[in-house]
């Protein structure tokens, strides 16, 4: 019997390792070549020096959200001369985030940037425990008065512009939108995108599918395929992987990506993308921390600030459309155009915002309805 148990053991080893490997496969594919050269030397530097550590929820190899943050980290390291380090694939809601932050602080890091919403409460508690360390939380809403602020961007501005491009590219007048969770940030993006679509093509509609995940290439791809099968000929997304674009490419449809310029993953499908540019903001935070005058704020940067932008538009898009989009971009930056300007109707045709009115930040931050032209529900 022992023998049989041991044979089974061996099998189970393999099984267990496989399970572990599967869980980690995302991170292993990603970070193979990504170690920051300065990390190892940084340990020996004086403790008083400013050092910034970034903690990310998914592999930086995702080409999306986390990759954009890593680009920002490298930019900030270059611009400030401050040593930076990162860990990725750190799950929310476990002790691991806490362990990593402590670990970094023990190594003399005194700026901690957490780039996932679910880190928020853990960061707030750590900020209290380590009053001398600067904490900056991306995409959340909690802060304190001394050493923890939050950062986000008005992604709805480039979303609106990307909608204009999508509206010009659809001939079936059905645009699919693969989206993560029905939270205000995502709903705001869908609405801004739809208003942009309608600015060019009032007949087009935007159909939303919720995936309940930020990063799951299989689910994202399946959701995009379902929309394509329904007749959508342009796919937009609020997701971190490139899977939706690959489905669009295979179906001969077009694609508006997100987070970064993902044109290389689906070169024929790619239209444009609303993108993040975290670098300058990270420079600001690190410089403030270095100078000792960091003051927490709820930063919500705009296209004028440069934290969000529209990626280059595909070369086969009509020049007249490009001109219109660039005109709108200039107007948004100048403050002459706001994507959420009335009249705005909800899905049932009720007027939410009167003609000529501009939506205030509070209403945008808590947005929980879809505008007319969106197919789907916010629940």
């Amino acid at each position: 019997m022992r023998k049989r148990i041991l044979a089974l053991l061996a099998l189970l080893f393999a099984f267990g390792m496989l399970a572990t490997a599967c869980g980690d496969s995302d991170s292993s594919s990603s970070s193979s070549s990504s170690s920051s050269s300065s990390n190892e030397d940084a340990e020996t530097e004086a403790a008083s020096e400013t050092k910034a550590a970034f903690i990310m929820v998914a592999p930086i190899g995702d080409a999306g959200w986390n990759y954009a943050h890593d680009v920002g980290r490298k930019y900030a390291e270059e611009a400030t001369g401050v040593a930076t380090a990162y860990v990725d694939a750190v799950p929310e809601g476990t002790a691991e985030f806490d362990n990593y932050v402590k670990d970094f602080i023990n190594q003399g890091y005194n700026v901690i940037v957490g780039t996932s919403f679910g880190y928020m409460d853990a960061m707030l508690a750590l900020a209290d425990e380590y009053p001398d360390v600067v904490f900056e939380h991306v995409s959340g809403y909690k802060m304190n008065e001394t050493n923890m602020g939050n950062t986000f961007g008005r992604m709805y501005e480039p979303r609106y512009l990307s909608g204009m491009v999508a509206g010009s590219a659809t001939s079936s007048n059905l645009i699919g939108y693969v989206a993560a969770f029905p939270i205000p940030e995502v709903i705001r993006g869908i609405n801004a995108f739809t208003l942009g679509v309608q600015a060019i093509n009032p007949d087009a509609q935007v159909e939303v599918v919720w995936t309940s995940t930020w990063f799951d290439p299989v689910v994202e791809g399946d959701s995009a395929q379902a929309l394509l099968d329904k007749g959508a000929d342009v796919i937009a997304m609020h997701q971190d992987s490139t899977a939706a674009g690959e489905k669009a490419e295979a179906a001969g449809a077009r694609w508006v990506s997100y987070n970064t310029d993902m044109s290389e993953f689906a070169p024929d499908a790619y239209l444009t993308a609303p993108v993040w540019n975290w670098g300058p903001r990270y420079v600001e935070i690190i410089e403030d921390a270095k100078a000792g005058n960091y003051a927490p704020s709820a930063y919500w940067g705009s296209m004028a600030d440069g934290i969000v932008d529209l990626a280059p538009i595909a070369s086969d898009v009509d020049q007249s459309v490009v001109d219109q989009v660039m005109e709108a971009k200039a107007a948004i930056i100048a403050g002459d155009l706001h994507p959420f300007t009335g009249p705005i109707m909800d899905q049932d045709g009720n007027e939410v915002l009167g003609a000529g009115e501009v939506m205030d930040d509070g209403a945008m931050l808590g947005m929980s309805f879809f505008v007319q032209g969106v197919i789907g529900s916010t629940g």
Partner: protein, 361 residues
């Protein structure tokens, strides 16, 4: 076909387990050194960091202990079932079920005194894990349905249940529609022993000791081991196998459920779909490395926890998570696998085995 087989040595090697442990670790560190050099890192710096972060000072111990607690309880859950030759592959889901049950108590008992609240949470967690194991236990005991498949499949059910709860009825109204449960009330947190280490350490240690004694020294445990080594013998001696299977699998689920409750009250802010964090699957490895003996689980879990914490820590030095994972595997298998070879030999073929092997092992 000649297959490799493990045979129990008539006499353990001189020096025994400690020597084997040392040799195995040395081999693992050597291979790891090659790996680190290949990846362009300074092995001395990486190894010392690994050690410091997991065992270097009381802070580090506390983090390692907190990791070892769910690993140890999950490992124990698998090992208790394994003592009887049963495979509970569902500890991952049972941990979640335990955490759900504990979180439910924290929801309804938010204003109870801390001691009662925590006690009820842990009891409820035990119940939650047991409930998830009852189905596979009954199916195995009454119908002979393979418990490996059923326990494995219920992992999916448990994770969907958590997702449904945090996307639906348990979603925090103040979370801006983010799928997040509300934070636990402060009095639902386990007390801290030192630094980060929480009271779950003592709970896990006590449960492991009790289970080890029960399996090793009680009549119940003796019957369990008889049933595990030979069904026929068990039947002849009047042991009721279905009852045994039922109780052992449910007990296994209950222990895993407790791990979920302890993890929730010990380290988590709130229930999330990542609460079991792979501990249930790692528990299978822990139990396997402990050779399915509950008494071996604690030591393996501590070592496993230290290796994981150390391995995670070196990622802050720029070591990629894949290199870190490979390194962790080397150390674990080197250190513990060697122990196996100090007690067993490997042979090829079917004819060299002692006839009465069943009786002697």
């Amino acid at each position: 076909m000649k297959l490799p087989r493990l045979n129990l040595r008539e006499q353990p090697l001189p020096g025994g387990q400690p020597l084997a442990f040392g040799i195995g670790l040395a081999i693992a560190l050597f291979v790891g050194t090659l790996l680190l050099l290949g990846a362009g890192h300074d092995p001395v710096k990486i190894y010392s960091r690994m050690f410091e972060a997991s065992l270097g000072d009381p802070d580090a111990w506390s983090i390692t202990f907190n990791r070892a607690v769910p690993l140890g309880l999950a490992g124990l859950a698998v090992a208790v079932a394994g003592s009887m030759g049963l495979w509970n592959i569902g500890a991952e889901g049972q941990i979640m079920a335990g955490a759900i049950a504990a979180a439910w108590v924290a929801r309804i008992g938010g204003d109870w005194p801390g001691l009662i609240l925590i006690l009820m949470m842990l009891i409820s967690a035990i119940g939650g894990g047991a409930i998830l194991a009852i189905g596979p236990a009954l199916a195995r005991a009454k119908l002979g349905v393979n418990e490996i498949i059923t326990t494995l499949m219920l992992n999916e059910v448990a994770i969907r249940l958590v997702q449904w709860l945090i996307h639906g009825p348990w979603k925090d109204p103040d979370s801006f529609n983010f799928p997040l449960a509300p934070m636990l009330p402060d009095q639902a947190r386990l007390p801290t022993l030192f630094s980060r280490a929480h009271f779950g350490l003592l709970i896990a240690a006590a449960v492991i000791v009790v289970a080890s004694v029960a399996v090793r020294y009680t009549a119940w445990g003796y019957e369990l081991r008889i049933a595990g080594s030979s069904e026929a013998t068990a039947r002849y001696s009047g042991i009721s196998l279905p009852t045994k299977v039922l109780t052992v699998l449910v007990l296994s689920g209950a222990i895993a459920g407790l791990a979920g409750g302890v993890e929730l009250a010990g380290t988590a802010d709130r229930i999330t779909e990542t609460i079991s964090n792979g501990f249930g699957f790692a528990g299978i490895i822990v139990a396997a490395l402990a050779l399915m003996r509950p008494s071996g689980v604690a030591a393996v879990a501590l070592l496993f926890g230290a290796v994981q914490i150390g391995g995670q820590s070196i990622q802050t030095l720029g070591v990629s998570s894949s290199v870190s994972t490979i390194l962790q595997a080397f150390v674990l298998f080197g250190a513990i696998g060697a122990g196996v070879f100090s007690r067993y030999t490997v042979s090829f073929g079917n004819d060299s085995l002692p006839v009465n092997e069943e009786a002697t092992s």
